[in-house]
Symmetry: C2
Subunit: 410 residues, 2 copies
């Protein structure tokens, strides 16, 4: 996977962006981002399923239910999570400020936060940042806004698609942040896991049902299959806005153009989710875990999740060790029902376990070892128990992950 | 907790022990252990719940169901797991060899293995080791046998109790091994998770029901609450043998002496389980996680397990960071039902979250920081949602854990 290291200009008709500094990050980097559509947009959102939801998640969930939004206000450096009534009031206040400054309805302003859990936002500082962001809005501000949403990210994550819907060309652009506390389990206007934020903006005209359906499809193949550490955040948020200025015939779940639109949104979300895993704190590898022929989807997911979260499997991936025993062991304790004597395991196209027996053969071991040293490879577990499948994109567990996370606060 | 670093002599009337070398370990250390009772003993066992069970686990489970055993044969350096029919035949063959050498019924010989998964045992070598072990049996061989069951352990784990049952003094001695792949979930003659082996031997006269009950009670407060990495092994085994040579009145679940006996067995198992966590691969700390006032036991366990397995919480413990946000986040995604605004969190006796709000106060932070730098401390989460409780003994996640497990095979 190519990592977008250089900023290529991203323009989405009808949107303006800003990213400013108000002092929430010790690094002094941009920490307030604002995305505004010139006109109210159709909106769909998905949020963490963590029972403990950050204040902005609660407010955004409530607001996006109405299906419309015009501005997204994000701060990094502080999650505004576990901050009680004060935190909720501050989230509301900052949205109100955006509404007044820009003359948009307050209910159309959606807040997000990411950073440390359990601390109140410094109100005065954030107010200054919000006002400054409102004044700095510009059509070419995408990358500044993106910097404003980043926390522990090593590189910016964005993707762009231009597609023809009927006869109109539309633009779809997405940005994301996230590196740790990643195991999103999001539900539409109600559920994910990891601090992972993503905003996908398009000038296409799309019905609310079409937008929600595209988000739902995309989510299940992207952020919801990404696992860094398995810790589901209190703040995960994905928002999809369509302002319709491209003037195309409205895309609905039944229109001919839906597949094209939904496909492009899906590609963007998958690209962004993959970047999040690749940038997993300390990660050196992206492993695509595919479970095949499970008895049902729940079982397929159990096996995929057990492996994606197993410290032993993840440490072996880091070490470049094709240790089939740990993979089989994780499948065994996952709770899935299968016959261990029928299990097959592959690393890319190299079969390392056949019918429940590890293949002990020097050339196979050499090929498997080569696969595991790559920075991206797939691990396929065939359970021979049914026809259900599951996929997870996982990072490895590294010395740097532990160093980073044992030293986060200090 | 004191770690038993020096070998104090352990004698259990009516038992002989051996530990020999047959070349399964690259280190050249003892790798075959044998424990034999002079007379057939009443026996109870608990085994991994992993769907993938090692060959010796399957055989021991089957044999211990009859409630009697006379010998326990253990090899380290190779788990004999995921080894198919050949592995099962080898386990059976080695037990047969012990039976013939010692003149005991083959069905009374229980095998265990621990080490690498997925490789066949070298038959000829192990046969030689088994024969040698049979000849080396001695009443004072406890520590040699203990060395023979160890793998990645940094120190030997054993405990001893002498208690009066009615008027007879009885001895109860336990040994254990285990450091990684630790999250035992064992069920009596049928279920745990992690390679963790433990053998508890007593000369007490105990009924089968009494022995099983003592094992069941002990297990739920010891090995089954121990978590190093959350990976449940294919080989976990706990065996409890009572040969009755002390001549006490038989202990049954209803006899007056049961509480005394069961209490001593429980203390030994808790001590051994704690040693396993303390010796967790790379671990520097033991954290007792207590969940209180959960809606039901399942919810209490969900919260305790989520925290005990969360890489972010465990890395924070390692770093000596009392980061309440990660604990609250893990409780939130655990699946347990509670009101986040009523949650209290304590580090030892220092309250760091009260009614869902992190306490921001310098003296409290200083006290909490001091607690987290200790090598043993407790973390208590009060959910205010009911009356159920749960306990887990967890290790921290360290740089050395990752180094060790990314480099295990090479």
């Amino acid at each position: 996977m190519k990592v977008p290291t250089r900023a290529i200009p991203i323009l989405v008709p009808g949107y303006r962006f800003a990213g400013v500094r108000c002092g929430l990050k010790a690094s002094g980097k941009r920490d307030v981002a604002l995305i505004v559509s010139d006109v109210p947009a159709v909106a769909a959102g998905a949020f963490t399923t963590n029972l403990v939801k950050a204040a902005p998640v609660v407010l955004s969930t409530e607001r996006v239910r109405r299906g419309r939004a015009q501005a997204v206000l994000v701060n990094s450096g502080n999650a505004n999570a576990y901050t009680g009534r004060t935190g909720a009031a501050v989230a509301r206040e900052m949205c109100g400020l955006v509404a007044r400054e820009l003359g948009v309805a307050e209910s159309l302003v959606l807040p997000s936060s990411t950073g440390r859990i359990g601390q109140q936002l410094p109100r005065a500082r954030v107010r200054r940042g919000v006002v400054e962001a409102c004044r700095a809005l510009a059509p070419d501000g995408f990358h500044r806004a993106l910097e404003g949403i980043m926390t522990t990210d090593a590189f910016p994550k964005f993707a762009l698609e231009r597609v023809l819907l009927d006869d109109a060309e539309v633009t779809i652009a997405g940005m994301a942040k996230g590196a740790g506390m990643i195991a999103p389990r999001m539900a539409l206007a109600g559920a994910p896991h990891a601090t992972m934020l993503s905003y996908i903006l398009t000038d296409a005209r799309v019905s609310r049902a079409g937008l929600e359906r595209a988000l739902r499809i995309g989510l299940e193949q992207s952020f919801n299959v990404a696992v860094v550490d398995g810790d589901t955040s209190t703040n995960d948020t994905v928002l999809l806005l369509a302002n319709g200025v491209a003037g195309n015939r409205e895309v609905t779940p039944r229109s001919a153009a839906f597949a094209e639109f939904s496909g492009a949104v899906g590609r963007i979300m998958r690209t962004l989710a993959r970047m999040v895993v690749k940038d997993g704190e300390g990660a050196t590898k992206v492993i695509d875990i595919h479970v095949r022929r499970a008895r049902d989807v729940r079982d397929a997911e159990r096996v995929a999740d057990a492996i994606a979260r197993s410290p032993l499997c993840k440490a072996a991936f880091y070490g470049g060790d094709p240790y089939a025993g740990r993979v089989v062991c994780a499948a065994g304790y996952s709770g899935a029902r299968f016959d261990p004597t029928r299990l097959d395991v592959y690393l890319d196209d190299v079969c390392i376990v056949r019918r429940g027996q590890e293949i002990i053969d020097k050339p196979v071991e050499r090929r498997a070892s080569r696969v595991v040293t790559r920075d991206e490879f797939s691990l396929t577990i065939d359970l021979h128990a049914g026809s259900a499948v599951a996929h997870r994109m996982a990072s490895d567990l590294t010395v740097d992950y532990v160093k980073f996370n044992s030293d986060y606060r200090t």
